[in-house]
Amino acid sequence: MNQFFERRYVIGGIFIALTLILLGRLFYIQIIDDRYLLYANKNVIRQFIKYPARGPILDRNGRTLVKNELVYDISVIPKQVKPFDTLEFCKLIGINKTEFDKLFLKAIKYSPNLSSSFEKQLSPQLYASLQERMSEFQGFSVEEHPIRSYPDSVAAQFLGGIGEVNDATIAKYGGYYRLGDYIGTSGVEKAYETVLRGQRGVQNKMVDSRGIPKGSYANGAYDTVAISGERLTSSLDITLQKLGEKLMQNKVGSIVAIEPSTGEILAFVSSPGYDPNLLVGHDRGTNYHLLATNPYKPFLVRPIQANYPPGSSFKPLSALIALQEGIITPQTTYNCPGYYMSGNRQVKCTHVHGIVNLSGAVAGSCNGYFSMVFQKLIDKNGPKLTDTTFNDWRNNVAKFGLGSRIGVDLPAERAGYLPKAALYDKMYKGPRWRASTVLSLAIGQGELGATPLQLANIECTIANHGFYYTPHLIKGIGTKNIIKPEYLIKHDVGIDYQYFEPVIDGMQAVVENGTAIQSKIPGIIMCGKTGTAQNPHGENHSIFVAFAPRENPKIAIAVIVENSGEGAHWAAPIASFIVEKYLTGSISPRESGITPEHFIEANRLPEITTYSGNKAKTAKADSIKKLKLDSIRKKGLIKSASNKNKKDIPIKYLAAIKPKDDE
């Protein structure tokens, strides 16, 4: 004890004060400030997304159109790699040593400790041989990865495809999608994206400071499982679709077949088509580019995106409206001298029909008759009211689904074209036009454009005697086969039942003894109408619309073969094969001697200039195609979809634009 004894209190006091400062600070960061717990969780918890399987798509009989196939991605953690037989490994996964070195270097550059993608989308066959020997290759691991697969390689434009989302898509859907996600980009895949995609699951894992996963967080209490996408049952008949694609190969055009009693689309052919398997897997990019630059535009979904003047196939509709309006009766006749005179304007007719009644005019496709009908109709309220009368007519036509989107369950449907009086007011600078001015509308020409789907829908309406259901491709969503309510609504077109019979009589006669007699199906009454749509860019388009059988119709169809002249020559026979195949399951010999083989083999591809507009290129399409084929073979650019191990087998260029001949 000395005189500084009391100083122990000073020292003790300082010790206590400093300890309290530390405790105060600890109290602040541990109790008051909540940020640190958030930071700690942010450090350690990583969300790993579990991807659901995308829903499969079936045809109307339950056959698979699209399914998921597993491919295998190889990943590598460079630091864990032990010496191994590099050459053998390369052989197993089908790459060479140079590629291997490049990939491995890339992985090291990304991170020596983290797993990075090494080689993507190995086929199941390659994986099978690799799997047995995986233990020799430490540091490499294999993950499954589902891709879309199309067992029958059909209906590419109908099914559409999926692709990785881009920034714009991510922004559009308000954060649902993340970089690297897939989304339906066209066709059914796009239209039914929300149903097909399923629900993502999340797995919370804890990672260390280098980002290496170390186990699940809170024993998975906050994890969610992935829920697979719903199965879609389409209305498509795969057999019919395949036949249609074969019949349309080497032609440009469409086939749309619909079941009139439901609006279910049975066949949806857009030609040229392509093998949908080309657009998945390893070589997607190359194949996509080739298809996108193909002059015949295989990505155009012609059944809903191409407009054609309906031509003579429009006549039954013209007749029905005139009957309903009371302008004509089935007994109204016209003496066809081979033309029709409207004032001093002459409309040419195909033949000198002589005296024809309504059915006869339909059967003989008499331009004169329908010009007369149209003029009577538009002039019924006097020439001063041409505008309003025309608009009334127009609205009656519109009830059949022309001039607006029908509402099929596919994205990017076009409306076609149906003019209003205002258009002609503008064209002729005021209401100075008359029925005679727009007379070409009477025979489906002029300012009229319809998609093949709209044409087929008109046939449904006629088959049903006055109503239609909106055509659709998906007849059942999920295992409960839920159907969208809008496809159960009956659309009435405002034509009385009794007016249909005389028109249908005429349509029956078209096939029985009229323009389409060549396409008569033994034992089946098909009612149809040929059409030859004028095409300012080249040869006329061949059109045929029909339904069958006459009593209790099962199928309505529209076929368009571009640049192939008269409807009777190309479209009608093709339609008749489809109809017969659907109704009887087979195709019987025809009196006229036409065979499906002839049409399958025929090449009606137009000259490339028609499409490219480049007049310098006058060579026939075939030779250009051949040139292209050669160059592509040389470069080996087209690769099969997922069979990387078969990459040496040359695949014909045309595989890209025609369905496989495997039936």
Partner: protein, 424 residues
């Protein structure tokens, strides 16, 4: 009163022993949690820091008992020898030392043991300082005695600074408390407090005219208030002059003498820079670890920050993170409470000594331990710059543990003999 026939444990201060053992246990458990690897869950594995620390604790306890067996007289007499030996080791380490992390602080011995002489220098300095100041007619108020005492402290500081181990160097400044207790003017303590305040303000405000202005204004106020008292005026004027020159020297020190990494550490604590990915990463992650512990912590071995190696140096300098994260504020209070109890107990022990040697030595030990605790924990929660000094008895490290064991058990031995003869 002393009876040689009595047990070795006669008069041992069991409270101190208990705190010592408690802190060692917390240390071993914390290191276990910090280095635990689920793939290799053996209890004692000599390859892990945990296993090694376990062995160090056993050695330390044996060493402690051994010290209790010694004669107290022996410890006092040995002081100059121990000081000389550690000084030689400090010189040796500069020549043959092993450089770890930029500090040439370790001497490699056969068998993979690495010795850190700086840790033992603290013990030696405490002993020699006690020995010197307890001499007859030695008063720290006298300039000569003060100079010698200061030299005893500064010599090892200088050698350690050459390594350069700034953290261990600073530890010796805590011995100012000892000098204060022995009669040094309180102005030194006040001045030290003012220095620290001024140091922070100078760098934080970075506004010399303002600081100088405030100092001058305050001086004028005091001078006007105590016009009559010349002594106070002289003191205040002197103090103001010292403070102003200090402020300038801080500026100079900071811009010209400190190394960039040291500057950054200071900047981070003062909030001047905020480099969370680079230089500030360690402290930031350490704060996250402790802060995320909340009241009760995440549970033993459940700390994600430590388990998944977000916190660096987690078994040595940042071991307190494990405590804070896994046992929360409650754990922090317990550990800090134990340290406070320990140093207050040491002051209590010091003051019951009849021998000045024992008293001075005890103050030395208490000051060094407390300085370690404040700097280490302060660093982990970001109120003190990152200075790499261990948390006594808890941090992994044999030299540190042995050194603190020597300090504490020497004190216990001296205390157990407090009723006996005064040897020095």
């Amino acid at each position: 009163m002393s009876n040689p026939q009595r047990s070795f444990f006669f008069n041992v201060d069991w409270l101190t022993v208990f705190i010592y053992l408690a802190l060692c246990t917390i240390g071993v458990l914390s290191i276990h949690s910090a280095v635990f690897d689920p793939k290799n869950p053996s209890i004692v594995d000599m390859d892990t820091n945990y296993g090694k620390q376990f062995i160090f604790v056993i050695i330390s306890v044996v060493l402690g008992i051994f010290i209790l067996l010694l004669e107290s007289r022996f410890l006092s007499a040995l002081a100059p020898t121990i000081y000389t030996v550690t000084t030689l080791l400090l010189l040796l380490v500069l020549i043959i030392g092993r450089n770890v992390g930029g500090n040439q602080a370790w001497i490699s011995l056969p068998g993979g043991i690495r010795l850190q002489p700086a840790e033992f220098a603290k013990y030696a300095t405490c002993l020699l300082l006690a020995r010197y100041l307890s001499g007859t007619n030695i008063k720290v108020t006298e300039i000569k005695s003060f100079a010698i005492a200061a030299a005893i402290i500064f010599f090892p500081m200088l050698l350690i600074l050459l390594q350069p181990d700034a953290g261990s160097t600073l530890v010796f400044s805590s011995l100012l408390f000892v000098l204060y207790r022995e009669g040094l003017s309180p102005y030194f303590l006040i001045l030290e407090g003012l220095f620290i305040t001024l140091f922070v303000l100078t760098l934080k405000l970075n506004n010399m005219p303002l600081i100088i202005g405030v100092i001058i204004a305050l001086t004028l106020v005091i001078v006007l208030l105590f016009k009559r008292n010349r002594k106070i005026i002289t003191t205040v004027l002197l103090g103001a002059a010292i403070l102003i020159s200090f402020a300038f020297s801080v500026k100079f020190l900071y811009t010209s003498v400190l190394k960039p990494h040291q500057k950054t550490r200071i900047d981070i604590v003062l909030g001047i820079t905020n480099d969370l990915r680079g230089k500030g990463y360690n402290v930031n992650q350490s704060k996250i670890a402790i802060g995320s512990g909340k009241l009760w912590g995440k549970g033993y071995m459940q700390g994600t920050q430590t388990k998944y190696s977000f916190v660096p140096e987690q078994s040595t300098d940042f071991i307190f993170c494990t405590v804070g994260e896994e046992f929360g504020f409650a754990g922090s209070v317990v550990v800090l409470g134990l340290y406070l109890l320990l140093v207050l107990r040491i002051i209590y022990i010091a003051e019951r000594q009849r021998s000045p040697f024992s008293r001075i030595y005890a103050y030395g030990v208490g000051s060094v331990i407390f300085f370690h605790v404040v700097i280490n924990i302060g660093m982990t929660i970001g109120i003190v710059p990152s200075i790499g000094i261990p948390l006594p008895l808890i941090s992994y490290g044999g030299s540190s543990l042995l050194s603190f064991t020597l300090m504490i058990f020497t004190l216990i031995k001296l205390d157990s003999n407090r009723m006996g003869m005064i040897y020095a």
